[in-house]
Amino acid sequence: MPDKNADPGVGTEIHGAVRVIRIDRPAARNALNPALLDALAEAFDAAGRDSALRAIVITGGTEVFSAGADIDALGGHTAATYPGSVNRRAFDAIRATPLPVVAAVAGYCLGGGCEIALGCDLIVAGDTAIFGQPEINIGIIPGAGGTQLWAPRTGAGAQAEAALTARTVDAWEARRIGLVDRVVPSAHVIDAALHLAHEIATKAPLAARAAKKAMRAPWSAPLGASLDAEVQIMSGLLASADAHEGVAAFLEKRRPRFEGR
């Protein structure tokens, strides 16, 4: 049953252990304004604190993911205000959530919308999806990961082309260059993302969070430090009850019963 919260343009639903966070501002093609970004940040923070959740799906529905930031809102910033803005806080919150996040993307996924998707762990694209960073067309650059987060998925060339030419890529090309992980009919993009999220939700929750933490280490540290971090995270995980249960279940040829401790 949908449980639309009070914040403008963001809704949430629960599907078992998966929370669906929905950008819901269709009249503005899901453009990101400060109120919506604030609500998104809160939704991600709340999901991260909910120990019953195992994964998140973020979507804009089956027509449009997000056409990007409200240009009016961007225009109000100065060099002094942007770093402390709700933009920064919202994108940080999306990337910082400890839960695995699957983006379900159909239609336009541009600018800040694309940066939201790229902040997720997996991206399921509908066949109508169009990705791009058009910021350079208005004399700015992507300011929430769009100059950094294409490259780990696509390599430096596609990153540079996106940031320097604003060329868009459709779902098929996005799959070909590794920008997205699945392409499905747009009408089914949320179902497909939920399917993937539920698959993740069946895995050991501590391990899923630990894997995400380890995979994200390179985002904040050089490779050597990231590899060290991976070792530290793995060391801690080996002591968990879930790890013992997983090993025992494997040896006993049965399904594991993970409890998240």
């Binding site: 066949d127 392409v183 499905v184």
Partner: protein, 191 residues
């Protein structure tokens, strides 16, 4: 819901940029079963970038593309026929010089496979006959009736678009992923 096409009649003198714009607008019709193109097919190419734009729009169109052509075909006519899911030519259709068609190798290989593409690229004496013989195009004395019958056979707009989406997926995704893509149409509400 019945079957009806969004029809684009290409007027003589239409340049590639105008054709690209007209195709973009026609593709916005969400109720159409197919996009049907006819009219002046004798033109060449006056803008390579615009030509590439309309070729890509038709190649990845979200609905079936139907093309009817007659008389002497120019590069545009051959390109349109090669991009068509439903290609119909009348008894006067002919093309003297197919190799002048931009992107002929890519278009022909996509539509006809490597053997048919070689025939066109290396100078088929009668390219329209090659398209007909390969089964890609249908030659008829009454293109209008043939087009109507083929479009009617596509079924509802939703069904026609599902099939076209699956076809697009089969071209762009590997076999396993294309299979998964198509199977979504056979689950839940689409089953």
């Amino acid at each position: 819901m019945g079957s009806s096409a969004a029809t684009l009649s290409i007027a003589p003198g239409t340049g590639d940029a105008d054709l690209a714009g007209a195709i973009r607008r026609a593709l916005r019709d969400r109720e159409a079963t197919a996009l049907s193109l006819q009219g002046d097919v004798a033109a060449g190419t006056d803008d390579a970038q615009a030509f590439a734009r309309w070729v890509m729009m038709l190649a990845d169109a979200p609905l079936p593309v139907a093309v009817a052509a007659g008389g002497e075909l120019g590069p545009r006519g051959l390109a349109l026929l090669l991009l068509a899911d439903i290609a119909i030519v009348d008894e006067t259709a002919a093309m003297p010089n197919p190799t002048s068609t931009p992107a002929l190798a890519a278009l022909a290989a996509r539509a006809l496979g490597p053997v048919g593409a070689r025939r066109l690229v290396f100078g088929a004496a009668d390219p329209v006959a090659t398209l007909v013989a390969s089964g890609h195009a249908e030659r008829t004395a009454d293109p209008e009736a043939a087009m109507a019958a083929r479009i009617a056979a596509l079924g509802s707009p939703a069904e026609a678009r599902r099939r076209r989406a699956a076809l697009n997926a089969s071209r762009h995704l590997n076999f396993s992923e294309a299979l998964d893509f198509d199977l979504w149409f056979h689950t839940g509400k689409d089953a």
